[in-house]
Subunit: 412 residues, 4 copies
């Protein structure tokens, strides 16, 4: 693959992590169909990932991990996994994402935050800690921290679409913090899976990404220690600096859709090459489009990742501006990737023909998986239009999607 | 719905058939999710269709049916069913298609052909005959008629993707007829399901259209009486008159994708209307596109159907020319319908957001069903490009897809 | 051309008008390049149109015209002209549009309105009257009627993009009517070109449609008799019945873009056919797309025209509902036609290759002309999104574009 | 602009050249409309470019130039010029391209080739030499070198679409070399404008890129010295190593379309921002698409340029493989850039509305200029489909477009 196409890691740590992962790719691919069919999380794959250190891929080397901090490399590793199984890549992304954002807290946070981050990162590296992010409230319940009267907190509510949940040991829960007489703020609470009051519901049944271990989590007055709460901003603060962390947390998912599109392309090209007759006109035109669209997809994802990598390491300027400068290219790339990945997969189905429409054909799984990108945070397509046009036209807006959603929910 | 949008039948018979079908639509809609999930053919729906006379909808009134001969009306009825469940509409199309083509044979065939057609049509009207077309050979086996030495024939081979098979009483099998010393020709054989040597395999497991009762049928030296064979042309004859019957047989399927797109549109509009806040910019832009694309889809399908209806009743001119003049607009419309239906469904998913990605959400079924159009005979996209460009550029080509496939298979 | 593709008129009057026009098509085609290059209105063509009665094509037969009232037929005639030269068709549309709307006023208006309409229609039929609509205010000036103190009116302001102006004898000016102490209303004033205070500015210099005779008209206290003013609604009235007349006035322009796309298609197919080698894959794929897109364009335009024709003759129901039911399909079709016509022309340029990029090549004119559709009233794409999404989502809005613009202008 | 978006040069030389060019950008922009209107080459701009050393931008520093060898930087400089005027950028590209390819010959050629290259490069740096490439034969005449009987050559034929011709001092003419008894080969001849028998025809009249100084050149037995001929391969050799030089020669043109799209975007955003009312839904959706498409365009162009830069400096591996690895990403990017640039410009017209359709509006020039990319060598879209699908599907093909064209021409 040419350079800049999310095929080759840029850093030694990235190369080391890819090598680890590549050992497992064949097994992941072999299991993908069955895990998809039954909506079953591939626990055995993640056991191997835990054994091999893959799950500590983005934990700093100083704390025992592989130390991949380059976002492009994380995306490259996820693309390689997604070529074999997109669901597995999506679940792995969750842990990688925690490593990346905790590493930031560990480097730049206040002392208690650093202590919390270090504890979790060391656990990820050496004690098989698996930490899921839980961002989205179930539509029936707002998740809230309230004081327990004793300096700690109680967490209640319900989170939905929490991926990697079957093997999670901890959850990082984005929540509202409501203290009588104070404005409601956002916060993130770390909670142990074994906490009283925490229930992991059965796995979600999705159109695609069915083996990603995606569940709802219910919290009923779960106790949270004060030091396990990361304070975030006031709701409605229109603070754009938070966009940096949100970019870091999600941008590497672009690699997943690059992997999906590549897998589809390889299947279609193999099918067209196998046929004994010269390829018909439409097949040649479709294959050329597939090649061009895949190249465009990967180039655009790589550009947004390079931009995020550059700004991720540079805290010297205005932090709100930095947030916007990370998020805007990410969202441009997300739009392009979502469209191009779907287009590539559709064209590949057309090249392969009727056989691809069987439930057991790998393209039919890719057809279902590829649409997930349209629903991934931040932002949905609808929110991205508001954000990108707002940026271009100078329209003020609460760009923090967690704050925006909290506000919208509060209004009704 | 405005006129010319496959919403209102054009003939009294069409209106009568739509009225019959509308009684069942609510029940069909209620069962769609479960039938899709388990890939289960809705036998009870088709029992009602048999009881109510729906299954004789296209049987001439003189022979006891509802007598719908207007292709646009058949498509309109199928659209109404497909709004509730596309799989059911696809299976129903099979029987409607037999009624339409047998009625042609009954009116215009030679005496023995008319006799066969009349027998089948009367059976469809009064004896619960259900006749499936079986057009596509399984890739492992060519279906062939060989002489039984006694004036009759033996049928062997395997057909794939035979829809409506679970309740079929007869199959119309497109086959090759091989007689020593004569050129191989195409033929169509009518065979009773209970014939010795005939096996209906378990239902196909597809990405979508999962409740359409689609199966493979294996034939092992099945005896066929001489009068149950309809002679077709020599393979490779480049006879375009056959395109007329192939148009009649398949063009009403355009209604199915109109129904799918309408169902998706209604779900998306309902979801956007239900929200308490003013619709965001992207939702308005998407809804406008959905409206325009749905209108375009329906207008184009209706135009091709009107063209086919006009030529279907006019045997006065050159029959090859007539075949091409029926097929070319049909294929133009099929391309447009396939693209627009997919686009509408995708846009609807985006409007609804993450909820639509759940396996239980009706849009996720529509997302899988809508792609089936790309694989329906005649032609695939790839063949349609060869046909349409060949017509425009004056390139000779065997446009009979059954002959073309037989020839291609023979070459390898 | 198949039926329903704007190739054959549906009524005898339509056929008569097409026959008249077809006499001139070759000459129009021959002059198109030069008129386009110099942005020169083809006066000689319109002299012939006046001589032959073409300019009275939509004047009722009772008043001396050809009596074409079928909108689909008007579009069909315009398509035939546009195949030769889109600018000429656009200018001819202006007069046809006046005939159609005056005929409505003549049939359904109050006695003085009928008298005015009859006078103008008879003049169009027998005295070479040419009447331009002037709808759009120049951005520097609102056009207004004020009382002259003597029972008549004075008209001041500036209209822009008035097509067919070089040979206009009269203008129908959409204007605001401001009477002290009364709410400002909309009105339409008929004014003679020779009126004192009226200046026709030199022809507009456009990207395309350069020979359409499009000018600005300046009015400085031009006297208007009371009987030459057609009263319209109060600004901001949200009256949707006015959408019917606006549909009639503009929908036949869809035929122009059908003609443009057809002309492009014929050039591309001829070029591809002329080449000595077998067409490459991309050419076949492009030609198939061109065929399908042209068919889709024409089918969709024809459907919206048929819908408008049906409702145009039916004043029995709710008139606001009728207005919306005419406008919504028109706008769906306009979106589709604008996109498909551009896509067809672009694909044709690609098929022809570099030669098409020369200024003298007819495709390069079509490339410029085809974009005009995006800017034609009612509505622009931006307004159409608001209208169509508003209709689907039940959002109230002032759908009368003249009122809406007047209101928006007033606010700033 | 974010990194990797062709906004900032990567090398010091690139930055120096951009600084030189930026001095002239305002003047270029001011003159663009008039030069476009009259199809007039901006001689005065190029006089300044000669005065300031811009025309020696890609001449190696050792030979007196600015020494920009980084292709991405050349594209970045061209993008900055194209934002002001695409025609000027296209003409400037011609000289830059000569500098780049002569520098390669100077570094890697045989001694006589090096001598020729050095002479030309020194002339470009210090004697105001301007060297146009002339690649495409006029359809009426094949360009041929034949022996003059005295060790030299005679050149005859006609080249078309030679850009920058009005101020050229020399032409690099791609030609066939026909020697009795030997196979016809390709060659490139350097010829002085003042040579006897050479005629520069009046400027071409194009749809767009009208001020690029594009002419036909006629050669009638023009004498060429032996040392002024660069030998190329045998026609039909299927040698892919030549793709490297063809990539270098043309890939920087991607920057021109990035500049066109950027200019359009800035105009549309300024227009939307200027309006007093909140932007309508469609404007926000369009602006978001414009942003995303522009980002995608620039990222993809930058990726292909980075790939070409990397391989351009690496002659260590298989040279045929290297040629393909340079050309394939270039062609993928060219497809994407052509589509995206056109889409951005179209969307910008829609945002701006009717005003953009005036001939004097800068968007109407961009609308005409942007299509040029579809016709630029190597390859047209049609050839690119054959090349890219051939690469993916393993189909052998003569990928050298000069050889391919010579062969196709010879066959007829």
């Amino acid at each position: 693959m040419p350079a800049g196409q999310l095929g080759t890691p840029l850093t030694p740590n990235g190369r080391a992590l890819l090598t680890l992962v590549e050992q497992d790719v064949a097994l992941i691919r072999d299991g993908a169909a069955a895990h998809d069919r039954f909506g079953e999380f591939p626990v055995e794959t993640f056991e191997r990932f835990l054994d091999d250190g893959v799950m500590a891929g983005t934990v700093p080397a100083e704390l025992g991990g592989t130390g991949v901090s380059c976002l492009a490399d994380v995306a490259t590793v996820l693309a390689a996994v997604a070529e074999a199984d997109a669901s597995t890549a999506l679940a792995l992304h969750v842990q990688f994402s925690r490593g990346l954002t905790f590493a930031y807290e560990w480097r730049h946070g206040s002392p208690p935050v650093r202590a919390l981050a270090e504890r979790l990162l060391r656990g990820m590296a050496s004690s098989r800690l698996v930490v899921c992010g839980a961002a989205k409230d179930h539509h029936t319940a707002v998740t809230r921290l309230t004081p327990d009267g004793d300096g700690g907190w109680l967490l209640s509510g319900r989170k939905t679409l929490v991926t990697l949940a079957p093997i999670a040991t901890h959850f990082l829960v984005h929540t509202q913090k409501a203290v009588e007489g104070e404005p409601v703020t956002l916060a993130a609470a770390v909670i142990d899976r074994s906490s009283p009051g925490l229930t992991v519901l059965p796995e979600w049944d999705g159109l695609g990404m069915r083996a990603s271990g995606t569940c709802d989590i219910v919290f009923e007055d779960c106790p949270i220690a004060a030091e396990d709460v990361l304070q975030r901003e006031v709701i409605g603060a229109h603070s754009d600096r938070t966009l940096a962390g949100q970019t870091v947390s999600s941008i590497t998912m672009l690699g997943i859709y690059a992997g999906v599109a590549r897998a589809a392309r390889d299947i279609a090209v193999a099918a067209a090459t196998r046929r004994p007759t010269a390829p018909p006109a439409a097949v040649r035109a479709l294959v050329a489009d597939i090649e061009a669209n895949l190249y465009t997809l990967q180039s655009t994802a790589a550009a947004a990742l390079a931009n995020a990598d550059e700004l991720n390491n540079d805290l010297s300027g205005d932090l709100d501006e930095r947030g916007r400068r990370m998020m805007a290219p990410f969202q441009c790339a997300k739009l392009a990737v979502n469209r191009l990945a779907r287009s590539v997969v559709n064209d590949c189905l057309t090249v392969v023909g009727g056989a691809a429409y069987g439930a057991a054909h790998p393209l039919s799984r890719l057809y279902r998986d590829v649409s997930a990108g349209w629903f991934m945070q931040p932002y949905t397509y609808v929110d991205a239009v508001d954000f990108l046009s707002g940026q271009a036209l100078g329209i003020d807006r609460d760009n923090n999607y967690l704050s925006y959603r909290a506000n919208t929910a509060a209004a009704h």
